[in-house]
């Protein structure tokens, strides 16, 4: 029983402690310094900002590329 309660206590405390440690590490590592660059880090020259990357199969893709308004007017359904 004592072992069980030790595990329980360890789990609950360590759970929070790990989250706090990760948060402190992230802040020290500069993860919260440049939000703009962070949000743009998933785009690159191959898939730049402003370019959709998914359409229904068989749909004319060029109509989608470019501005959102063009995408909204949209190509005909295949």
């Amino acid at each position: 029983m004592t072992t069980a309660y030790l595990i329980l206590g360890f789990s609950l405390v360590a759970f929070g402690a790990m989250a706090v440690t990760a948060l402190v590490w992230a802040a020290r590592a500069g993860q919260f310094e440049n939000f703009k660059a962070g949000s743009e880090s998933i785009f690159d020259s191959g898939e730049p900002i402003g370019e959709p990357t998914d359409v229904f199969p068989g749909m004319k893709r060029s109509l989608l590329a470019g501005s959102p308004t063009r995408a909204m007017k949209g190509p005909p359904r295949p």
Binding site: L8, S45, E47, V55
Partner: protein, 500 residues
């Protein structure tokens, strides 16, 4: 040698994930179909309790000839594995661990490789974990059907199956740490935080709960709190981070626009990480626990409004002006449906933790509606959306048919919508009636719920159609029967157009 261009690097990384991720997706879909079968039978049994275990009609001719009327008795020993208690637990475990978790691991593995910008490391470790994971689930479900369920909700798998699953998952966690440590990116994108955290949290939760309930059981009501600490954290610290993390990657990526406020996404993640694990106690409102434990849990549950609203506002503002794209992107359609459901189901969940509503909704179909709202309308839809994006990039061909994708989407969307309506309305009426001591349980309350339960079974048929269609479509992709026109870069619309 590093690949020459960003696009080539991405294609290289995607390809490195191919075998393990397709294996996880394939097995996820297999368990989805198995879980759907259990679900349909379980649902029908709720309004037709003898379904599949009905004794054959007595042989009248034999009776007239002087034989016994009860000539064909049905023995519970023969049909025990077909009864509600075992099927319901099998359904839950098949869809929660077999479908949802396998899909989550597949999506998480792919996202980690992409966001760490390294080709998949130790693919053999991931695939071995996948094989073990599937063995664990198969053994566990066989154990439940054989009557060896532990009867602890969300942990029904017998201990020997839980051990296999725990080892498999620990292997995934080790792999995730290895991937993260060898990442080639300076910035840790918000999705990577979510996925890494989920891969780290789940084995912790699973091991702790199994040790404290099955291996070295704590006594009495402490078991209940451990049970629901685990049960709710599986949703909040395993499925939710994978689902939300995937949405934070897929929505910007598909529409080609960065997240509206990266700052808000950071707040959303860290508030979830720091406060979510308090939530489980709200399952035990009215239960045999100190009142302060439950009150603390209610406060934490209501506090969850913060990360939820933050995420909802962020996703909405990112999508603003791009909603027209829902018509043209299968991935976006499923994921936005899922993200909107996440907002609604989370706010509903916070409200259900409040004592005055909980006293009506607890122990009614309302709760079941909430569970399906979360795991299907939110999580499963997000996973479908991710698979529509990931599978073509792994298989190198495009989905075969836009019609089948639309059929899948509308079957799933209408199916889950009707299921939630039926269970929510039916559950509310049921709860109000149960709270009224003048109402007769068998005579009034049970017949009242019947039409809602029939409606739920019908909505389940719609969902099943969607699942079969998607599984068929997936098999076509794995067999390389997808579309190939449009040049080699199927996954980059502009390049595909430009190239002759």
């Amino acid at each position: 040698m590093p690949p020459p261009t960003d696009a080539a690097e991405r294609a290289y990384i995607d390809r490195s994930c191919r075998a393990p991720v397709l294996f996880f997706f394939g097995s996820a879909l297999f368990w989805l179909l198995v879980g759907t079968f259990f679900a349909l039978v379980t649902s029908i049994k709720l309004h037709d309790p003898e379904f599949m275990t009905r004794a054959p009609l007595p042989d009248v001719a034999k009776f007239q000839a002087g034989g016994s009327l009860n000539a064909n008795p049905i023995s519970m020993q023969d049909v025990g594995f077909l009864t509600f208690g075992r099927f319901r637990a099998s359904h839950l475990n098949a869809v929660a661990y077999g479908w949802a978790s396998s899909a989550a691991i597949g999506v998480g593995v792919w996202l980690m490789a992409r966001l760490c910008r390294v080709p998949l490391r130790r693919p053999a470790l991931v695939t071995t974990a996948g094989v073990l994971w599937n063995i664990g689930i198969a053994v566990g479900i066989a154990g439940i059907l054989a009557g060896q369920s532990t009867s602890v909700e969300w942990l029904e798998f017998p201990p020997y199956a839980a051990l296999i699953i725990g080892i498999a998952y620990a292997m995934i966690a080790v792999w995730a740490v290895d991937m993260f440590a060898s990442r080639q990116c300076d910035h840790v994108y918000v999705t990577l935080w979510y996925v890494l955290a989920a891969f780290f949290w789940f084995p912790w939760l699973y091991a702790t709960a199994n040790i404290l309930i099955l291996l070295k059981p704590v006594q009495g009501s402490v078991q209940a709190i451990v049970n629901w600490w685990f049960g709710h954290n599986v949703l909040g610290l395993w499925f939710t981070p994978i689902g939300i993390g995937a949405a934070y990657y897929m929505i910007p990526k598909v529409i080609g626009r960065p997240i509206h406020s990266y700052y808000l996404s950071a707040i959303g993640f860290w508030s979830l990480a720091l406060f979510y694990s308090w939530n489980g106690g709200h399952h035990l409102i009215g239960g045999p626990l100190p009142a302060w434990v439950i009150t603390a849990s209610i406060v934490a549950s209501v506090m969850m409004v913060i990360p939820v609203v933050v995420t909802a506002v962020n996703h909405h503002m990112t999508m603003r002006g791009h909603f027209g794209m829902l018509r043209y992107s299968p991935t976006l359609r499923f994921i936005v449906f899922g993200a909107m459901s996440y907002t609604l189901v989370s706010l509903q969940g916070s409200s259900m933790a409040i004592r005055s509503l909980n006293k009506i909704s607890h122990f009614t179909h309302y709760t079941i509606g909430h569970a399906h709202f979360g795991l299907y309308a939110f999580f499963t839809m997000v996973m479908f959306g991710c698979m529509y994006y990931i599978v073509p990039r792994l298989c190198g061909c495009e989905w075969r048919s836009a019609y089948l994708i639309r059929l899948h989407f509308w079957a799933a969307a209408y199916g889950i919508f009707f299921m939630i309506i039926a269970l929510t309305v039916g559950g509310l009426v049921q709860g109000l009636m149960l709270a009224d001591p003048a109402k007769d349980f068998v005579g009034e309350i049970v017949p009242m719920t019947r039409p809602y339960l029939v409606g739920r079974s019908l909505s389940g048929v719609l969902l099943s159609i969607g699942h079969v269609v998607f599984a068929y479509h997936f098999i076509l992709m794995v067999l390389q029967l997808g579309r190939r026109e449009g040049g080699p870069v199927y996954f980059n619309p502009v390049e595909a157009e430009v190239r002759p």
